[in-house]
Symmetry: C2
């Protein structure tokens, strides 16, 4: 049974009754499991994590849109987090027994349905994107809901599906396919923020570093520590252990060591298994040697 | 659904029809999956790997004994591997949702049934053992089938279940509970066997090393390499990474480096995840952060 994960981000983080209706729409969809959901009042945004096969995930997404369009009016929405639509972003992530190509196909299928059924413009992003300028979420979301009408009137910003102008209350939605994202932080044994910032600059893709790393330096005031805070957007091509070793080397340049690292939220088992393989210099190892996997597959 | 693994070792590795009957007895037991089986002609011995809950694993073990007692006569059995019985050893291993105490209870339950139904004496071993002298398989098996009658007549060697004298054709069986065993080898970038032997002596429990390591030095003639060949008998208490680091340090003492390591057969995911945690200095990590586990548990 193939498993696709989806992590819809919805522009509502303050009204418990609406958040519960959104969660309920997912939970009541047959074949779908709601794995997690969290709401942030200052962001005024909720993040849901759900899983199922393509048909089930599609049904849950449509059910979620129906509630969001009924309950959310972006004209009234204020919050710290940038957003373009009532259902702001919907990524589909291949987990087990399913390819990236199938997740891209699902993004197109769901996008077409959203455009038609709800008259919400849809932009495809990441692996599903139809132009390099519309691959990154940040690029698509620039100007936010308030700037959306002007944006969509400009060249190159016709949506992939749905009407050519924003939905009055729900704006537009960004739907796509991507690898699992790993939120990974490394804490340094120093409180010097500038060291964390220099390391972040060295390792992140945008300033010359590793292809699938987003990074910034932050200060953990309560612990008197500087942290390199990262998103790893493709752990197969830019694995955790390589990031860890590069941060360690850069830190040593400033006389600083790694105190600890942490994974925030979920991580695919393979990301950790690849790290064990690297450090243990494991050769001729296959995932079918993992006992639990063997037990499940038979 | 709890999962117990069992790896019965049977004293038959040459007659394909008997081996197939043994495998069939396991396969046809409801609720049991036969994950693997292999036969070794020079050892004249077969190893089966099966999994299921306690009731299913018990039923499969009884079915296996019935075939073995019908088909195997240890008086005729010759092979390189030491053995005490037709069904020589039956370990029960806790894998998922089951404790070691439950596996010990299963060993007692199955042992009592074997003693009564088949009139085969049963010695409990490892975590299920009833005396320190009968904890290790090698200690129980000393003297083998041929020396068994004399052994059982001596003080301290009354069986835990079944008659006080060996079964005429099936000898005795050793049944117990243990942690998953990991067959783990480290290849050195040298062909000097004496280096591998010195490292094995340093790290193994029997000569002063780590508590849950069995090790020997061997030569891989075809690859012109020396190897430290190990069994890790409790990866929770003596983890892979600690063994790897200790071998690396001992090898450096002789100017030798680790070329590679390998896991032979199956390994619990946790053994690799703990290694990733160690090297990545991961803190505040829980197995419920592993995506696949989260997906299965909900």
């Amino acid at each position: 049974m193939p498993i696709i994960e989806s992590i819809p981000n919805v522009s509502e983080g303050r009204r418990p009754d609406v958040i519960e209706r959104l969660a309920h729409a997912i939970r009541q969809t047959p074949g779908v499991r709601l794995l997690d959901h969290s709401a942030d009042a200052s962001h005024n945004r909720s993040v849901f994590t759900l899983a199922g096969d393509a048909a089930a995930v599609k049904a849950a997404t449509l059910a979620l849109f129906a509630v969001a369009l009924d309950a959310i009016d972006l004209r009234q929405h204020r919050g710290e987090h940038p957003r373009l639509g009532a259902v702001d972003v919907v990524p589909f992530v291949p987990i087990e027994g399913v390819s990236m190509a199938e997740c891209v196909a699902l993004a197109r299928d769901v996008g077409a349905a959203i455009g038609e059924r709800f008259q919400v413009p849809v932009f495809l992003y990441e692996e599903a994107s139809t132009s390099p300028a519309r691959k990154n979420l940040e690029d698509i979301r620039r100007g936010e809901f308030e700037g959306l009408a002007a944006r969509m009137a400009s060249a190159g910003w016709a949506p992939d599906f749905g009407p050519a102008t924003p939905h009055g209350t729900a704006g537009a939605s960004v739907i796509g396919a991507r690898m699992p994202l790993i939120a990974y932080n490394i804490n340094l044994n120093t409180d010097r923020l500038e060291v964390a910032k220099k390391i972040a600059t060295a390792i992140r893709h945008s300033s010359g570093g590793l292809r699938y790393v987003k990074a910034m330096g932050v200060k953990l005031d309560d612990r008197h520590l500087a942290q390199v805070s990262m998103n790893l957007t493709n752990y197969e091509k830019t694995p955790i252990f390589r990031v860890f070793e590069m941060v360690k080397r850069e830190a040593a340049r400033y006389g600083v060591a790694i105190l600890e690292s942490e994974v925030v939220g979920l991580v695919p088992a393979a990301a950790l298994v690849r790290s064990a393989e690297f450090y243990l210099q494991l050769e001729r190892f296959g995932d079918d040697q993992i006992l639990e996997k063997k037990l499940r597959d038979r």
